[in-house]
Symmetry: C2
């Protein structure tokens, strides 16, 4: 006789020969040494927590991610959702994973005890989410979008809206989406044309089409709550005329039970290169002129509300990109440690034993680059989460505001650095595996495909660069930037006390100086109204600032690693800490100096791209 649980384990073992999803040593180091997670428990809001509850959550997340998410990551890619013109079918494992996620209370882990939540710090929540992103980013998409949508309703919805929609979203009966993009309107949201007509009963009738809506239809939940941006009839043009609406797939009674189907139709699925497990949809609202929507908050403030969700989603994209990169890194490291091939350049004896490829300098380079990108990116996302906690639960009003401003400043970088360098890491992971890496028999090619979405959705790379250089830097008289510099200087002060870091501190300071000069120059130009010239090369600036922040975080990690080194008698621990220092050296010596060249182009307001004419291509 075979008991169900044994069968389950057998299937698990057969389907899941995955490397660890995250290095637990690294996660622990980041949470407890770099970001002082335990310090958060001194805040009243988190007072019931301690390291034990944090670790409990992380262990639970890891277990669910490994048991219910990782095993079908490849299967969901191979068997993408199907639409027969009426309903969407996803493989059953997705629903099962969703249910386990919901049952563990992870959909509202950060909400107050009063709302059935755990009052979990964002820092720990982010770390827990990291397991799911590493295990199966497509299936993880459903709960993460739902959490983000619920947070908008929680923050801006009426009491009735909250009472109706939040409980079923928190317990996993309803999922959520964000519906912004239209076939003709992507980055330029001010041009959107979906209309909302007021009805006699205080609700609205929505009409229009939305495109690239992730999770816009599925067979996982009873109901789907779309948050839809639309323009109330007669509203002004541009972003100020946009309002936000709740549009459920099924009309929902106040007690959460379902009434009739709303007039939202799935027009079709889009077929993506990767991230295939998450449906990407074209939705038609109001084809029969009977699509009911409920206005959230005030008319005309829709984009502002949506940006609450959007900013959270942007950080989530950063985390996803970091963790897909991380997954690829661990896979390629595992391969490199076990694949014998070739000899050192100095070895001429063909009878000598081949080395495992991890011993080749060029493979070390590819692994170090990956390590520096993905561990740096994870650190960045955890920093963002730490700032959310300080902003939301801090006891000092000024500090709360400061943390919010710093978070605002770095959000474009949290979104874009991992989205750019995560795929680069996956590219290197394929290269480490060579021919094997290019086949679907190994997991790294899926990582590469999945991760390519991240520089696109929730605001492309170009949009992030304009947001950073055109807006975020100068908000509140540049307060965010000052706060960032203060934190960087604190790290430099600590690190410069350590002789082992003297050279790195010097190199970092030299680059930082250039970045500061460049920033001032660009700011001056913007003040003088030279908007076109100052923003023309904004992508360079985004990368420059990303490298500056990640370089800082690596210095911080090296500093903390050296602190820990003295108290770590275990060899394995010492090796881990030595690796942190080496990766810091790699990033600061190999990657960061590229800002010099970027600075030259930016400081000279280089017009090469700006002057290119469409007819010259």
């Amino acid at each position: 006789m075979t008991t169900p649980i044994l069968v389950e384990i057998a299937i698990l073992l057969a389907e899941c020969p995955v490397s660890k999803l995250i290095s637990l040593k690294d996660l622990e180091f980041l949470l407890y040494r770099v970001f002082n997670a335990e310090q958060l428990t001194r805040l009243p809001h988190f007072a019931d927590h301690d390291r034990t509850t944090f670790d409990g959550i992380l262990t639970t997340a890891e277990r669910i991610a490994e048991t219910y998410f990782a095993p079908h990551n490849s299967k969901a890619d191979e068997h993408e959702p199907q639409f027969d013109g009426k309903t969407v079918t996803t493989i059953p494992e997705v629903k099962e994973a969703w249910q386990h996620f919901a049952k563990a209370g992870l959909l509202n882990a950060r909400h107050a005890y009063a709302d059935g939540g755990m009052q979990l710090p964002s820092l720990i929540h982010m770390a827990a989410n990291a397991f799911f992103m590493a295990a199966n980013p497509s299936t993880a998409g459903y709960p993460f979008l739902t959490s983000a949508a619920a947070n908008v309703i929680h923050a801006f919805g009426s009491d009735e809206q909250k009472a109706t929609f939040l409980p079923p979203m928190f317990d996993g009966r309803f999922a959520g989406t964000m519906a912004l993009t239209e076939p003709d309107v992507g980055s330029s949201l001010g041009d959107l044309t979906t209309r909302a007509v007021p009805a006699a009963d205080g609700t609205y009738r929505i009409k229009g089409q939305k495109m690239y809506i992730s999770g816009g239809d599925q067979d996982i939940t009873e109901n789907i709550v779309h948050l839809v941006l639309a323009r109330i009839e007669g509203a002004e043009k541009g972003v100020k005329g946009i309002s936000l609406f709740i549009v459920p797939k099924f009309i929902t009674n106040p007690d959460g039970t379902l009434a009739q189907r709303n007039d939202v139709q799935l027009a079709g699925l889009l077929h993506k290169m990767g991230y295939r497990g998450t449906t990407s949809t074209v939705l038609s609202f109001g084809e029969q002129d009977n699509c009911v929507g409920y206005l959230i908050g005030d008319a005309g403030r829709g984009l502002m509300y949506m940006f609450k969700m959007m900013n959270e989603a942007r950080i989530g994209v950063g985390l996803g990109a970091a963790m897909i990169g991380y997954r690829g890194y661990l896979e390629s490291l595992d391969y490199a440690r076990n694949r014998p091939q070739g000899r050192s350049p100095a070895e001429k004896d063909p009878h000598s034993k081949p080395l495992n490829i991890v011993e080749h300098a060029d493979v070390k380079r590819m692994l170090l680059a990956q390590k520096s990108y993905v561990e740096g990116s994870l650190a960045l996302c955890l920093l963002a989460a730490r700032l959310v906690d300080e902003q939301e639960a801090g006891t000092d009003a000024q500090q709360r505001e400061d943390s919010g401003m710093l978070l605002d400043l770095i959000t474009p970088v949290v979104k874009s650095f991992p989205s750019f360098y995560g795929p680069r890491a996956n590219d290197l992971a394929i290269q480490v595996l060579g021919g094997a890496g290019y086949t679907r028999e190994y997991p790294v090619e899926q990582c590469y495909r999945d991760n390519r979405l991240n520089p696109i959705h929730e605001g492309t790379h170009g949009i992030q660069s304009l947001d950073l250089l055109g807006r975020k830097l100068w908000q509140h008289n540049g307060k965010g930037l000052k706060l960032l510099m203060a934190r960087i200087h604190a790290t430099l002060a600590s690190a410069s006390q350590k002789p082992e870091l003297a050279a790195l501190v010097g190199e970092y300071q030299a680059q930082l100086k250039t970045v500061q000069e460049t920033t001032l120059l660009l700011g001056g130009a913007l003040q003088k109204g030279q908007v076109t010239e100052a923003l023309a090369n904004s992508a360079l600036y985004l990368d420059m600032m990303g490298k500056t922040i990640i370089g800082w975080l690596w210095l911080e990690m090296a500093d903390k690693a050296l602190d820990a080194f003295a108290n770590s008698p275990v060899q394995e621990e010492q090796q881990f800490l030595a690796g942190k220092c080496q990766a810091a050296q790699y990033f600061i010596r190999w990657e960061l100096p590229e800002v010099q060249h970027q600075a030259r182009l930016l400081q000279s307001f280089d017009r090469t791209c700006l002057d290119m004419q469409a007819d010259w291509f």
Copy 2:
């Protein structure tokens, strides 16, 4: 039920005209202005040709590529070859395309009239091949491998082998493959274990497994001619013990008719991320101890012979990478010119008309980068082809030798620069299309997947970098490098006469100086036996040399564009030439200066990667 939007998408896709595969203006410029194709007709071997015959070949290639290759590029990706345990099935369009390719005489276009060929210059042949690589790299893989295999037999086979195998390979009845890699042996060919046992009749019995063999089985041709590297029983270890064998799928009678099946079995297909239309196979030779192989040339010289094919294949990989990049560039350019979205940063009026995205500075950057990578890469491949012509058909013995040495030197760059920057171009093409680019409804995601193979096969990036820095640079007392520098200085001399190029020439010279210093320093270290240290960062050097050569080619193109400008009264022609100059400026100003940072790491023999320990990751 078919909803309107789905119908719309279907119509869109059906009507979607394939962009031109290559800019004919660009190809003409490269062939006739930069590489002086007509000059080749002065050589006796090409004396029967003139521009009319060249253009005739190119037009034929374009027509066949557009008619028989391009239309099933996406279909072959979606319906990859199937193996039922007995036979492989490919979609019928592949065979049809193959037959048209063969019927046009393109399989032996470069061979002598006496061999039924056209005595076509390699330069024109490369340009013709470019159409197929742009149209459908997977299907193009079959004829290109066959040509390369035929060339090895032509160069090193016995008269009998040539008489038996070449006619059916040239007329398309037989295909060819190269079988080097084994499950445990990829980059390190000296370790291969496939054995060859002499038989009484002078043939050999082959036994072993080969992996990642492209075109190793298919249902397109009557027979397949495998060129197999194996070790004759008792041969020494390492590369000197390797011999090369012809192993046909069907034993072939001297008159080209087929006898019995040889003991070569398809063990399985590998499933790739892209390039799916070309089978990638695991082959078992001699499972029944009855696999007949015919030794080519002398025992122990197999690798040397194979390198004839390999070098040709490496240039072919460069061309494929360039053209997949080129295809993506044209697709994204077409999209950018027709997609309205957003306004200039200085425009605040939401009522103003959106711009086509080609007008945004950051989109221009992404297009310029692509243009500089792919047109530069195509120029590089055509340079290689020009050198082949000079080497093979030149009338001056010294010049023939010189051209051969220069070709040898740059081959690692011809293979690797397009393979690295082609995928980067495809990455940018996706980014220009945004969400659309990430879906399989548009062609750029396939380009991105297809092109990712190129930095792996026919010698990985790392292998190319060791080949360049560890060997090619120093062959014949550095003669190849001196020849390269002489050509670069000739371009600089001409360009420096033009005031419009003065600034670019200055910038290029400054970078070149650094590259030369770095090369000398590394050479000195190698001479002193510091092999490990000098080669540790070879990947940086490969990229540095790639940028140097491509920067030179861009300067050459700008120089020739300015020459042409005066005689081009047509506006469209002037715009094209202005674009060439702007792309040269982009590459030399934006990309080339990265060599400075690379030089600093190389010149300091930076040990960051070398010192990293496997246990520290």
